[in-house]
Amino acid sequence: MNYAEDLHKFILENFLFGDDNNLKNDASLLEHGIIDSTGILELISFLEETYGITIEDDEMIPENLDSIDNINNFLNAKLKVIGQPA
């Protein structure tokens, strides 16, 4: 399943306040200054609440969270493991 659209919408509304700025799915959210240290916490809360998952400490790494593509892949893998439809 592709969550990219939902993630794009969340980031657009919550961090960019509606200003798309050509946000690419493979762009690093940290390097482009889209989210900062507290933004990461917001992103994690959003993922946990929206998808009913718990993100473990060792999963909170840029490889899982630092771009829409990375988050999408991470979500797919995570939801597959806990048995939800991917």
Partner: protein
């Protein structure tokens, strides 16, 4: 301190509107309501409101020289005036007051512009030479006292505060889009800029000499940055000894006053050290003042109590609640005259009121120590990131970042992501602005709230590029720490801390603050102290801690630095304040003022009302947007050019030929 103002017809005689000059003077009376005076002739008008501190009885300004050919209005203090006065008397100069003001005038008479190099103090003044028909405006080295000016219609209008200049109805009042770009990137306008188009501020250490033939605008002092090959090679013990001597003298001369001098005591190292020096070396009857915050994370009162008892000083604390901050936010903007991204000036505004109600008008502060001795986290951050940049994959080096920000890293699971945040731009370790680029790039995200029209007006302007162009020639040869200290001191210290959080909020209640750490002798000395003695490993202000080790309790010296901050959204978005905030930043108001995108601002406030985690940049966005709207409301749309503040003149010198 005091307030000064004036109008000068540059090209020759012209009508000086006395009514306007009176209004320009009257609106500054909060800076000192003890006395006021005016000088007027065919070419110039000078106005002054006085906060009497030295020579309470005969120091009424404007003050003149022996033959009344030179006239001065002055705000501030010259701390070395007793020595200068003696030299001048030996040279045959005659004084009719015992003020420091008169000393400047005679020094100028003797040395011309060179007089500026002899002054140790905090000051802004205007000297009018009647034979030369020439005006001199000057400001102290670090910009502790303010001085603004604009040149329009063949006249120069100048004043301690911009509101005084705006009393001339012919002067247009417009917010400068470039200044907004600067504030929303580096937290303050760049030196020389104000929030308003065509209104300039004399830069720290700058003077303006002007007559019909010439305008000479120049700096007589630059914030010193010594190249690595010119640093002291003395031992840390020798350096500590010399610094102790300098600091003690800086405090001594700042206690000169004909009124009681008190002290701010925050509980941190800097103000504690100053208070301890006063209590131990000069005066056993010290009155200190501190802030207590309702929000636990911001409160340091436990340390204030400990110090007050340790030093046996009379300490008074003022409790500040979130709603106090909210209810006075608008009032402090009337004084700061520029949008701000913080609320921290408000508690200091309330504290100066408390000081004034307790009958004091002079206070020593610890301002400047973090810049001069290397106290800020941004300095350590630069050093660690520079260290990491040499081996970016070294996990041990990366882990040092977590020690810098224990609060941010208190959730250990976020470590990797946060380290990535601080590792941004490691490839720019050679960039002269390396230390500050993360902060500025992060802050400028707030510009996303700018309206399209504002963005168009700003155009290609890039304030970070402008800063590059302003760097001194040998900047590249300095250490990473010295570069960061320079940026912090020349941008944020003078244009925000000493202004919105310093002079303006203190003088709002006629309280003069004196920061001994900003004595230029200390700044020049510290510029030559090697970086390693400022920040040893990750221990900030190492040498200053050595100075205080015998006069402060060990836990105060060892406690981690806690920067002075005040809550933003927790205070601005309180229930009791919501009506006011709504009236200022509702879609219709945002649309009317035209600076911001109404839809985005609405999304921001909606988000902040429900937010659990405090996001610093979004908090700054809220403060910046709200304060810009309030400044627009106060200074652009509803400015009172006919204020109802009567002026009782104690002195009126009218040298107009037709008077």
């Amino acid at each position: 301190m005091c307030g000064l103002t004036g109008i000068f017809h540059i090209n020759g005689p012209g009508n000086i509107p006395l009514d306007t000059l009176k209004r320009m003077t009257a609106v500054l009376q909060h800076r000192g309501g003890d006395e006021s005076g005016i000088y007027i002739d065919d070419q110039i008008g000078l106005g002054h409101t006085r906060l009497s501190i030295i020579d309470l009885h005969s120091g009424t300004q404007p003050i003149h020289n022996e033959d009344k050919t030179l006239w001065i209005v002055f705000n501030g203090e010259i701390f070395n005036y007793p020595e200068l006065r003696k030299q001048l008397q030996d040279d045959g100069h005659h004084f009719y007051t015992t003020t420091d003001t008169e000393v400047i005038l005679h020094l100028y008479e003797r040395d011309g512009l060179n007089c500026l190099n002899s002054l140790n103090g905090q000051f802004a003044f205007a000297i009018w030479s009647t034979p030369k028909k020439q005006l001199l405006l000057a400001r102290d080295r670090m910009g502790i006292c303010p001085l603004h000016y604009t040149i329009q219609n063949g006249c120069i209008y100048f004043a301690s505060e911009i509101k005084s200049i705006f009393m001339e109805k012919k002067i247009s009042r417009e917010i400068d889009p470039i200044a907004l770009d600067q504030i929303f990137t580096i937290w303050a306008p760049l030196p020389g800029f104000t929030a308003f188009k065509h209104i300039h501020e004399l830069e720290p250490g700058q003077f303006l000499q002007i007559d019909k033939d010439n305008i000479h605008l120049s700096k007589y002092w630059h914030f010193p940055i010594d190249p690595r090959n010119e640093l002291f090679d003395d031992s840390p013990e020798e350096l500590t000894e010399e610094l102790t001597r300098l600091l003690s003298d800086a405090v001594r001369i700042r206690l000169i006053a004909d009124v009681t001098v008190g002290s701010y005591l925050s509980g941190g190292l800097d103000s504690s050290g100053i208070t301890a020096l006063v209590a131990k070396q000069f005066n056993h009857d010290v009155h200190s003042f501190g802030i207590r915050f309702e929000e636990f994370d911001f409160d340091e009162s436990i340390y204030q109590k400990q110090l007050a008892s340790f030093l046996s000083v009379h300490h008074k604390e003022l409790s500040v609640s979130n709603s106090d901050i909210a209810s006075h936010f608008s009032e402090i903007l009337w004084h700061s005259e520029k949008p701000i991204l913080r609320t921290a000036p408000v508690p200091l505004f309330l504290l100066s009121k408390h000081v004034s109600e307790n009958g004091l008008k002079v206070i020593l502060t610890g301002e400047g120590a973090d810049e001069i001795f290397g106290g800020y986290n941004i300095f350590k951050e630069a050093l660690v990131r520079k260290f990491l940049s040499r081996k970016p994959d070294d996990q041990n080096r990366a882990d040092l970042i977590t020690r810098l920000y224990p609060n941010i890293f208190k959730n250990p699971s976020l470590k990797n992501s946060l380290i990535k945040f601080f590792a941004q731009g490691l490839d720019q370790a050679g960039d002269p602005l390396f230390s500050h680029l993360i902060r500025w790039n992060n802050t400028k995200r707030i510009k996303t709230f700018f309206a399209e029209n504002l963005q168009k007006e700003i155009g290609d302007y890039n304030c970070i590029e402008e800063i590059r162009g302003l760097l001194p020639d040998h900047f590249d040869t300095c250490s990473t720490l010295m570069k960061a200290q320079y940026l912090e001191s020349s941008i944020f210290l003078s244009n925000y801390l000493l202004s919105s959080q310093g002079d303006r909020v203190a003088m709002a209640h006629a309280v003069e603050t004196r920061p001994p750490y900003l004595d230029h002798r200390i700044i020049e000395f510290m510029a030559r102290v090697p970086a390693v003695w400022k920040i040893l490993g990750l221990n900030e202000k190492h040498i200053l801690k050595k100075v205080f080790k015998d006069i402060l309790p060990k836990n105060i010296i060892d406690r981690p630095k806690n920067p002075y901050r005040a809550p933003i959204q927790q205070s601005l978005l309180t229930a009791h304040n919501s009506e006011f905030v709504e009236s200022m930043i509702c879609e219709a108001e945002i649309q009317k003022a035209g600076y911001f995108n109404p839809k985005k601002v609405t999304s921001l406030t909606a988000k902040l009302y429900g937010q659990k985690n405090v996001n610093e940049v979004e908090g700054m966005a809220l403060a910046g947007i709200l304060s810009t709207q309030i400044i627009d409301h106060q200074y652009i749309r509803n400015f009172p050019t006919d204020p109802n503040c009567p002026l009782k003149l104690d002195i009126m010198i009218d040298n107009r030929s037709n008077s």
